[in-house]
Assembly symmetry: C2
Homo-oligomer: 361 residues x 2
Amino acid sequence: MTHSSSSALANLGEFGLISRITAGVSPNGNVITGIGDDAAVTALSAGMQLLTSTDMLLEGVHFRRVWHDPYLLGRKSLAVSISDIAAMGGIPRWALLSLALSSDLPLDFIDDFMRGFLAMASENQVSLIGGDTCSSRSGVAISVTIMGEQYPDLIVRRAGAMPDDDIWVTGTLGDAALGLKLADDVGFGFTPSTEISIQNQGSPHTDSSPAGVEGGMQPLLSRLLDPNPRVLVGLALAEAGVATSMIDVSDGIVADYGHIAEQSGVGGRIFLEDLPLSRSFRSYTASFPAIPYQMALSGGEDYELCFTADRSNREKIVDCVEKCGIAVTRIGIVTSFSGVTVVKPDGTPYSFQTEGFNHFT
Amino acid sequence: MTHSSSSALANLGEFGLISRITAGVSPNGNVITGIGDDAAVTALSAGMQLLTSTDMLLEGVHFRRVWHDPYLLGRKSLAVSISDIAAMGGIPRWALLSLALSSDLPLDFIDDFMRGFLAMASENQVSLIGGDTCSSRSGVAISVTIMGEQYPDLIVRRAGAMPDDDIWVTGTLGDAALGLKLADDVGFGFTPSTEISIQNQGSPHTDSSPAGVEGGMQPLLSRLLDPNPRVLVGLALAEAGVATSMIDVSDGIVADYGHIAEQSGVGGRIFLEDLPLSRSFRSYTASFPAIPYQMALSGGEDYELCFTADRSNREKIVDCVEKCGIAVTRIGIVTSFSGVTVVKPDGTPYSFQTEGFNHFT
């Protein structure tokens, strides 16, 4: 789609909008009846069960239009839902998208958003099969439902962690939280391209990046604005049958492992110095008085997978995750007693202020 | 749930809210893993395909809090989605519910909303299996996804109408549109009970109902505020194999039959005097200069089923729909040439101003 028009929704109307949104949707073998009927019709693969999750994203709450270029917002809207299917070890298949839009919204915003949404869909072999559009009087609201499938025996749930299991996490933690903090401190906006462009709002001569920081803020902002759901890792772990429990890290590792612990009737110890921090994270925070571990522990929006597994499977796990091109790190052990504690190398508990976002408080 | 507290969401927090919402959800045989994991797990019945649809409802656009008592709003939020499954001849099974709520919203609102939502779910054997909650800075936003199932051969689509088929509609048309007009004219509000209570905003001695109107505004308002999805009728028609196409009437019969016509590559003639009008509709509009047919043609929110069928199936259809306790009326015929026209008894076209709501214009 290369619509250059910036005219507003009001000229297009509801059905014009739907045509515009669906113009980029290509038919797919796993869809029987897609967009355009009262309900979509699809079929599960033989022997598989249905996995379903839904997320709502609101302007001013989950995203700010000045920060999120619409292409990346489209990608992220679907990525966070796909991440839930990854966390079950499932195969993402179909998505529904509802959009509430204010009538003065530029059409370019919608075109770019859809381009991003459909790119993320295509990268994960997900088909957009339906949705809803309506007018909003107060900012953009996005609702995404994702459906996936998997054989019953391979589905990995939050419940299932056993005492003495290892606690593992993919990739690195805290990058998105640090990216958010830097964006907040520095102030930046986007050019209407798919590239992230950092604009210092102060003097053009001020570069707020510490001298010599490799890649600058870019990798941290990418983690915040363009998360990559760990579908292949989730699938590899499910197929290897090694994860006793799994969750995606959206609210910070402490809170999210906490859900595993609660639903498995166990607790856990997380080793502070084993938390995987990216090179960008380390170099950006090198001048801080202390490493801001709280961002890795509770910052949220990492969209990595946290899982537990028997100690006997360590080699198998490293093998199976790294084959997907993703690092994996043992960060703790499951305990039989309840409660999740973060411990310092000297064995004493590490206390920190939660960075995570809690709605309604 | 009989929480009497009116304290606000801010005291409860996100996880408290989720507990409160899910407190009324009862486990169900057709759910393998419900609320509380990264994704819900369900299984389709052997041989059936998956039907999926989603709807978004926004305060100030789809509903006004002063009109919709939260119990009825909860019912309607799910009812409009279930209606989409009914329109495919499907069996509704599972629902996802996302709620964006402002932090000063009284907890009673949420409790009553959920009571209504879960009552509608239970009446239709639908299980709530997941969702999302978040804070809103500007009114309530509701997103519902419904999933259902049906055997491939029984699913009824919009495409399939054949020239010379009859056009049928269940129940009566225009009641909700008239109810909306009356509510707009008269002004009314709700007591915090599940009963609709009409409060004239002018003098308490003024009764705006025409003298002798049977049941007053009540039946018309009920159609507007508490629609009843035609699941049993949809299923009966699917199982009888008699409907060549089907849609639910949410935007008015002309627009919705128009979708059937377009997708079937046909047109249609709708006979004005055959439109099914309720007794309440007729008696309420008896003093009008003319019958406001435009409400029945384009008012929207009827949530009846419009379908087409071969003439040879007339008796079978009356039988099969009336067995469900719902009236059914032949209102037109499918034409081989495109375009939908409404014709008067003298055969000339009836022209009318559209009442329907088009987002963004």
